[in-house]
């Protein structure tokens, strides 16, 4: 894995559990030894350094607050280790407590705090000494949904105020999309794509990322590229494509197997027949208030679409689907890389 984080950047390492993202973070922190490779912070090689020499700070998923110390002692612990004078410690603790709004909790023990408060204390402890690099290992995953959304904003705000280079590990794509300057997606121990959130969403590098990012997930339909006929055969229907596409597919595809990816919001659903539309049958509809998710069957394929909330759709009703060919993603059948 080769990954460079820019100075002052907020980079999110995103991936399913067990993909190696936490291990990567722990290697950067010095808590685990890489079996090979080099790690640099700034221009300094830190591969063989102890965690304490790296000038990093880290927020753990469990917060790892010291249970036998008060909030104040927890927050000032990094300063105490560095033998900062007492008066300065007090001043900095007050500053941090102000920013994080935990001023009235300073004398409490961690066990007397709520999840959100613990989270703030953990953030405070990491931020108090202005580290070179700020690491966060799924810091929001132990909070309830409402608090998570709130803290997401708070952390983003803090980052823009303090400008500390940050690496944030999560398996939650919403957190990644909302907070990141750039997202690095990992799977199976490998870096799959490193790009800005919008680019990841609109130009996924491969089939895995296309399916991983976005909710509801991208429709993924397997098909065959018929070179001679200039058509894509998707079992249930055949898609005629224009010259330009034909040339690209001809050049880029390694075989005739391919996947077609279409985001649910790019699928148009019509209750009345359309000549070039694909005939489908409504399987189930899920109203969400501001929009509605319609799941339809085309032959053996399941297609999900986002439609207007007031669209009258019944189960088993016949509908016709169309999609904008500019919004369609084509992935190679064997390498799974994005072709178009």
């Amino acid at each position: 894995m080769n990954l460079t984080i820019k100075d002052g950047e907020f980079l999110v390492l995103l991936g399913p559990s067990g993909c190696g993202k936490s291990t990567a973070l722990r290697m950067l922190a010095g808590l685990e030894d890489p079996s090979s490779g080099e790690i640099y912070i700034g221009h300094q090689p830190v591969t063989d350094m102890d965690p304490k020499e790296r000038d990093i700070s880290m927020v753990f998923q469990s917060y790892a607050l010291y249970p036998h110390m008060s909030v104040y002692e927890n927050i000032t612990y990094p300063l105490k280790i560095r033998k900062t004078p007492k008066a300065e410690r007090k001043k900095k603790a007050d500053e941090i407590a102000d920013i994080l709004e935990i001023g009235d909790l300073l004398n409490r023990k961690p066990r007397a705090l709520s999840g959100g408060q613990r989270q703030r204390v953990a953030l405070g402890r990491s931020l108090i000494r202005q580290p070179n690099v700020f690491l966060m290992d799924e810091p929001l995953s132990n909070l309830d949904a409402k608090l998570r959304v709130h803290m997401r904003g708070e952390i983003k705000r803090l980052h823009s105020e303090l400008g500390i280079t940050s690496l944030y590990v999560t398996h939650d794509q919403t957190e990644a999309m909302t907070m990141a300057d750039r997202i690095a997606i990992m799977e199976g121990g490998h870096l799959q794509q490193l790009a800005q959130p919008n680019e990841i969403y609109h130009k996924p590098a491969n089939k895995y990322i296309g399916g991983f990012i976005g909710s509801p997930a991208m429709n993924m339909v397997s098909g065959y590229w018929k070179t001679k006929e200039g058509k894509i055969d998707l079992d249930a229907f055949v898609w005629d494509i224009d010259r330009e596409w034909q040339e690209i597919l001809e050049k880029q595809l390694s075989g005739e197997n391919m996947y077609l990816g279409i985001r649910p919001e790019d699928v148009e659903v019509s209750a009345s027949p359309i000549s070039e539309g694909i005939e489908a049958e409504v399987y189930v509809v899920e109203p969400l208030g501001k929009e509605m998710i319609a799941i339809m069957k085309v032959g053996d394929h399941t297609i999900t679409a986002i439609v207007e909330p007031d669209m009258p759709l019944d189960m088993n009703q016949k509908v016709w689907l169309t999609f904008n060919s500019n919004k369609v993603h084509v992935f190679d059948g064997s390498t799974e890389k994005k072709v178009v």
Binding site: K52, S62, A64, I81
Partner: protein, 266 residues
């Protein structure tokens, strides 16, 4: 419905009563010798061997407690000396045990051996406790003899440390495994070395375990008779268990002094 409820209650009450009676009976059996020891230590010599034994001393005496302090002891064995010897041996070996044992336990709890055999190593440590002490008493005697440590406190400290270490390692290992590793990792990221994180974060959290373990080792050492009997032979070096045994002489047993000393030792 109401009947069934009271029936249940009565049944539970009966169970409770039976349980307490049983417990009381067991306590009686266990505690009686100790009670007898204590009252014997307060009985004057005449009463000790009287034909009608009483459950409480008729003529209360503190003679056996005062005599050793004045040094007037028929057997010539200084109780205070035994007591001090026991204190020195037990506390020094306990401290060494805790220092070595908790460090060993911490590494077993946190690190994997390169050959992945942590469980076997833990087990190997425990094997030191598997031989009955009587089996190793002769080799131990010869080792101490060749080291020139016979009849010294060091001999006892070394033996007790060796025998109690496995207990300390196993008990402390369990305590350390309960403490999430995130805590010391966090301390290390905050700027501590591994050793400092252990000392400042992990040890305070394992304090209840440390106390329990130290009491445990203290009791084991305090009561140990066999090694002390063999490795110490002069009265001024003896710990309490063999020391008290010296009240039993070839010709007579000084029951009063013996029980008084034993009462104090307990």
């Amino acid at each position: 419905m109401e009947n069934a409820k009271t029936g249940m209650k009565a049944k539970r009450l009966r169970g409770e009563i039976i349980r307490y009676i049983t417990l009381f009976g067991i306590c009686l059996i266990v505690l009686f010798p100790i009670y007898w020891m204590i009252i014997t230590s307060f009985k004057p010599a005449g009463e000790l061997f009287a034909s009608d034994q009483t459950f409480f001393p008729q003529n209360f005496t503190l003679q056996y407690y005062i005599d050793p302090i004045d040094g007037v002891v028929s057997s010539g064995s200084p109780f205070i000396g035994f007591f001090l010897n026991s204190m020195i041996v037990a506390s020094v070996s306990m401290i060494i045990c805790l220092v070595i044992g908790s460090l060993a336990a911490y590494s077993l709890a946190r690190f994997e051996l390169r050959i992945n055999k942590n469980d076997r190593l833990s087990f190997a440590i425990l094997t030191a406790r598997m031989l009955p002490p009587i089996v190793v008493i002769v080799p131990m005697y010869l080792i101490m003899q060749s080291l020139g440590l016979l009849n010294t406190h060091w001999a006892m400290i070394i033996v007790y440390t060796g025998f109690n270490l496995p207990f300390v390692v196993w008990m402390m290992k369990a305590f350390f495994q309960e403490i999430p590793p995130d805590l010391e990792e966090s301390a290390m990221v905050d700027g501590d070395s591994r050793m400092k994180a252990f000392y400042k974060i992990v040890l305070p959290l394992a304090a209840p375990g440390l106390v329990a373990t130290s009491i445990f080792t203290l009791i084991l050492t305090w009561n140990e008779f066999l090694f002390a009997m063999f490795l110490l032979n002069s009265a001024d070096m003896m710990t309490l268990p063999p020391g008290i045994a010296t009240y039993i002489t070839q010709y007579e047993t000084n029951w009063g002094e013996l029980t008084a000393a034993a009462t104090l030792a307990v």
